[in-house]
Structure formats: structure tokens, C-alpha cells
């Protein structure tokens, strides 16, 4: 299984902080399984994806294996 972690507003939109998807998981599989508006925002350039603690330069190159953690990162704001 691949653990999906929702951050920020994505957690609200998904109605949960995390869930598990079948492994292996690529970009197409992810985009099909998450809420449509999360997938739509992930297609833009202000949302990011990390795989096992590394932010992907190319989201469409996602290739998550069994035991991986994929975090879905909406636009940030701190301070």
C-alpha cells in the first residue's frame, strides 16, 4: 500500500488527513483516486507532491512503491 498524506486545505477537501492506495501508484492512478478538485489543483504549478520526503520536480513522474509515503502539498503560507 501507498500512504497518502493530505496537507492544508487538501485534508479538508478529502475529509481526512491520510489514507492508503494500492501500490504501485503513478500520477494517473493518483489523479484518478483523489477528489477531482485536488487532482485539478495538483495539475497547476502551485501545488506539489513529495515521495518519501523528497519533493518531485516533475509530478507526472510519480512512481510510488509498496510502503511509500506520498504527501499532497497545496500552496504554502507561514509566518
Amino acid at each position: 500500500m501507498v500512504r497518502i498524506v493530505y496537507l492544508g486545505k487538501f485534508a479538508d477537501w478529502a475529509g481526512r488527513d491520510e489514507e492508503e492506495f494500492e501500490a504501485p501508484l503513478d500520477w494517473e492512478g493518483l489523479a484518478q483516486r483523489v477528489e477531482p478538485r485536488i487532482a485539478e489543483e495538483l495539475r497547476g504549478d502551485r501545488a506539489h507532491i513529495s515521495l518519501d520526503g523528497v519533493v518531485l520536480a516533475d509530478k507526472q513522474a510519480l512512481s510510488a512503491k509498496d510502503g511509500s509515503e506520498v504527501a499532497l502539498l497545496p500552496p504554502v503560507s507561514g509566518g
Binding site: 498524506v5 496537507l7 492544508g8 486545505k9 479538508d12 513529495s50 518519501d52 520526503g53 519533493v55 509515503e69 504527501a71 502539498l73 497545496p74 500552496p75 504554502v76 503560507s77 507561514g78 509566518g79
Partner: protein, 142 residues
Amino acid sequence: MLDKGLSVGEAQAAFSNINRLSGGIASFLGKVRDDGETQALELTHYAPLTEPAIRELAQEALSRFALDGVLVWHRIGVMTRGQPIVLVMAAAPHRRAAFDAVDFLMDHLKSASWLWKREKRGGTWEWIEPRAEDRLDLSRWT
């Protein structure tokens, strides 16, 4: 990253002691403002990314400016009016580097760190995204 009270006096005393031979120390404390509407603020982080990236940011400040040291403390969790959110300090032989480093660190913490902020107004939570001026502030450093 701190999930409860940020003790400003304690941090300032410790940092000042470590950098007791520096020519100057600049410090910025960000707090939850009372704008009459915001009831609370919540900050979320993602441990595998947030802290390593802030450490890298601090390293970048150290290599970019002539500094003796930096301190970055950031709260996560729920905060209410008047409570501290972030404390940034920079010690340097000369004031300009200290001021610039604090400015640089704050601009990056506001809109280029792995943090997510929401504010509660009128009983409703709203996610906050950087304002255009936050992005403009950040672009000064590239």
C-alpha cells in the same frame, strides 16, 4: 518547530549568550494580530519536509550574509490573538547583515516554506495563501 508556547525571552537570552561577541543582533517576532476579526490561527507542518527545509534556509542565510549565527523558531498548532507565531534572530559583526538576514528569512518563511496557515473568522476556518506583496517580497532575493 514548536507545538506549544514559544518562550521569546528564553530564546533571546540564549541566542544573545551564544553570540555574546557579535557586534549586533537583529530580531523579528511575528504575532497573531488583533484585527477585530481573526479569532484564532492554526499552522500545520509536514515533518519530513518542513524542518529540513528550514534548516537549509538557515544555512542559505549563513552563506549569503556575513553572520555569526541565526535562530528560527516557528510555532505550529492553534494560536490566539497576541501569541507569538515566529521568532527569527540573526547575529553579525555589523548591523546590515543582521537586518538583511532576518528580512530574507521572514520572506521565505511567509511564502516559501512547508507550512500551511488557516485563520478562524466569524467562527469559520479559512486557508490563507500568500498575498501578492508576499510574493513580491520574496522575489527581491532572487
